[in-house]
Symmetry: C2
Amino acid sequence: MKVIESIAEMRQLRQQLREPVGFVPTMGYLHKGHMSLVRQARNENKSVVVSIFVNPTQFGPKEDFKGYPRDTQRDLAMLEAVTDIVFMPSVAEMYPEGFDSRVEVGEITGRLEGASRPGHFRGVTTVVAKLFNIVQPTKAYFGQKDAQQAVIIKKMAADLDMNLEVVTCPTVREPDGLAMSSRNTYLNPEERRAAAVIYGSLKLAQERWSEGERNADRIRKEMTELIEKEPLADIDYISIADAESLEELDRVEPPALVSMAVRIGKTRLIDNMVLE
Amino acid sequence: MKVIESIAEMRQLRQQLREPVGFVPTMGYLHKGHMSLVRQARNENKSVVVSIFVNPTQFGPKEDFKGYPRDTQRDLAMLEAVTDIVFMPSVAEMYPEGFDSRVEVGEITGRLEGASRPGHFRGVTTVVAKLFNIVQPTKAYFGQKDAQQAVIIKKMAADLDMNLEVVTCPTVREPDGLAMSSRNTYLNPEERRAAAVIYGSLKLAQERWSEGERNADRIRKEMTELIEKEPLADIDYISIADAESLEELDRVEPPALVSMAVRIGKTRLIDNMVLE
């Protein structure tokens, strides 16, 4: 496994990789969710590149860029056996002085996470476009946990004719259902217990859907009531939307994306489930 | 020479081209300026791809998209001997329903042409990014005639780590100095004669620079006075700017870009010269 910090060197080594090349972009502090992406990349390709880059431009001014958890040594140890190249550029390498370009997707970036985090997806699409151009993967892997991000990256790749396949991989969960996230590390034990209500509300939606409920408002209302019973939880949004356009639905038609952002104490967590 | 209309087919044929691949994106209605780009691409590469696409998104609502001159048969005849692939997609192929992404460069796109034509460069950078992704050239060729466009494309390619070299080629001129442009066809004989004042004013700037004049205002003023003597000419802007940042200069420091947009009758023409 080679650990590369320079774009020029990454490009050069890319030429020597066996095709096809799978790519997993991450912000590090890896968990089982990331590793499931890396394993899928490993299974489907001859070479695997993983990037670790905590991208400042996708954090809002009041968000947790500085405090975002980092542990490079542990990350590299986890990747060692399954990765050919770890690309780990500095912020100055990715955004040299005078950097002034961006890649943006339109309407779908204004909804859900985009409504709560203005500018977030512009940061994501710009850095992912750069990483795609540097790594030139055959396939790139994203987690369903960040459902809107995956939809937006697919849209960007299709609209801009990027020459790769974007693959979405299932969310990996803790035994109580909490979706794996680097931000779970922010939770104290009491908050960690409370956070299970998020998955609980998604299971509730799934149940109602299976029972034949098609009224989105009624499902949203039941989810809201369940979460509001948890004193440590504070709902940012609960959405039942078309899984591609991300437009809110009145009547639930598959595939529908049930997604949410909930604060547990000070930690903002997101999760989702697709009704099919 | 193959003439391709579909993105999928272009991608497929791309795999069979001998490296390196030179690419000349055009809006068709080819003239000697375009052909000088194609010839340079031919000289520097094993394969040459030329695109012909009148890109609607770079025209303003009151601009000449519909009337923009087109003559595909003549274009193909001119390219026949020197081109491997002509990529000629339809608008629907490039912008299918629901298309909603864009590539943008920041500050330098707001100046000069960008100030006069809001949204123009967003249309240019987005379509050029798409074409680069489809054609995947080793080198792409742009004319110095569209100086700001060339600077912006270079900036986009550098900022977004596009894996190609952007080459700028010298402006090709008519015997009286008028820069070759597809829009010259709009000029009636009287306007055509009057249009020579544009190059005349650039030569004047060059002369003053050679004589040691370093005060940008004085050079702009002399250029303005010369053009105002021509009754058919109407100045949109005259700029003396840093050749890279495109910031207006008080004191001329090389390399400085002297550039201008002038209406001759109803036809808006641009031209420029670099003082080095």
